[in-house]
Symmetry: C2
Subunit: 244 residues, 2 copies
DNA sequence: AAGATTGACATGTTTAAACAAGTTTGCTAT
DNA sequence: ATAGCAAACTTGTTTAAACATGTCAATCTT
């Protein structure tokens, strides 16, 4: 599937790091060595390495080399990060997940919705409320707004499976960019009703709001995901400017 | 200060986007046009644009152009994202911030600390507990562990000012990479004591744990930041693989 | 009028080369 | 023995060129 050479090299190096073929704190082979190994130009190697840096897998040091700083982390809980659908995340964590559609309506963005979501007033939208289960526990309450113009033909049936699969494979909408904001919010009655939080004494949720853009640079989705706090974990890697 | 050409172009384009010299949803000038404008090669332009993509400022579209998708966001609350110290964040948000040191001790990592922080057992550490105030409100309770070997001479006095300024300007330690994990945790008695949370009925905190690496790829800091939820906001931009 | 083709132009990938700048190593002159 | 230096590495920046691939509009064909 990945046809670009730099992407193949990136994946191969990433695998070797994850499988500890390169040890923690060890230096990777030099760029020129990798050029010979992969039979490509130095630029292509550097591009693959830049991706590993961005992932927090390695650290480059001018004059010295490229150090492996990857440490496998406990996957105790459900982890997000990157652009990934609930189904993909569930699969990656080897859990069985399913989705219940609580509400599926069409509506037009008024002033209030526009301000909250970023869609222009008057936009024709699908509004979907969904509950995501992982190992039979309701973990995420999702409020989705999709721009009808970009995502025509959406149904409750599709929403109970994977909306993203429908978008990508049927409508050929490609997701390119997603701006996310994470906050902590007081739990509402609706949250309490759907997420089994009685026994636990949390009164807050982790809330992830995201605006998603398609390949035309059009924002076609606004989603608010309300996560049970005991199963929420977000990973991130920040790199000093200049490396990418 | 930024001497690299691609970095200057990146900053200039970023500024033009922020000042809305390029309108939202407008296409930027084509790469070849920018090549003439900035008198550089196409690769250098492409590198600058790649940085803007990573920031979520623009979106590239093969065959079409580069679209500005930047929208100024409400900075109502304290925002983190990127590698930035508390002092820098406060300054960027035009708030006056100060820091109170609650505890400053030296200790050696035992099994328990090692497991929590990722430092090897036996590491000589500074452990610092700090409270960050913004506009006279205590917002963040910080637990810092610094590797003594990399950060010698740290004092409570320095900790009450800016540790990062000391590291960068006095010790010339450059921070390169920071792995962060965000979770939501139940509030403890200590949290309650220091963060004025009585009136509000939150019983949770936003917790950011981070491991920070220096330019030698050595992890020299582990920090757990416990944020008052009503002032916590984390921004992020996820990009589909292949763009960087 | 509708459909197909072509050419101009956009970004995406890859190579090659040169030079800059930081680190390490080992030799040399003292 | 050691301080200093130079050579041989390392990654970082920039240019130039070629070709691939996607988009769009004008034009040609039917």
């Amino acid at each position: 599937m990945p046809k670009a050479k730099y992407d193949q090299i990136y994946r191969d190096l990433k695998r070797k790091i994850e499988e500890e073929i390169f040890a923690y704190q060890e230096l990777l082979p030099s760029e020129n060595t990798l050029v010979e190994e992969y039979q490509c130009s130095r630029n292509t190697i550097r591009r693959a390495i830049a991706s590993l840096v961005r992932d927090g897998y390695v650290q480059t040091m001018q004059g010295k080399g490229v150090r492996n700083i990857f440490q496998p982390l406990e996957q105790a809980s459900f982890t997000i990060g990157g652009i990934e659908s609930f189904r993909e995340s569930a699969q990656r964590n080897h859990k069985k997940g399913y989705t219940k559609v609580l509400c599926f309506v069409e509506l037009t963005a008024d002033e209030k919705i526009s301000h909250r979501t970023g869609f222009p007033v008057g936009s024709e939208l699908y509004y979907i409320q969904r509950l995501h289960y992982l190992d039979d526990k309701p973990l995420i309450l999702n409020h989705n707004y999709f721009l009808k113009e970009v995502t025509p033909g959406l149904t409750a049936e599709i929403a109970s499976q994977s909306i993203y699969e429908y978008l990508e494979h049927t409508l050929h909408v490609t997701i390119v960019n997603s701006k996310r904001t994470m906050t902590v919010e007081k739990m509402t009655e609706i949250d309490e009703k759907y997420l089994d939080m009685d026994a636990l004494e949390y009164n807050c949720l982790a809330v992830v709001s995201s605006q998603t853009f398609d390949s035309n640079g059009i924002m076609f989705e606004y989603t608010q995901s309300r996560h049970r706090p005991d199963y929420f974990r977000f990973q991130d890697n920040a790199v000093r400017r200049g490396t990418i």
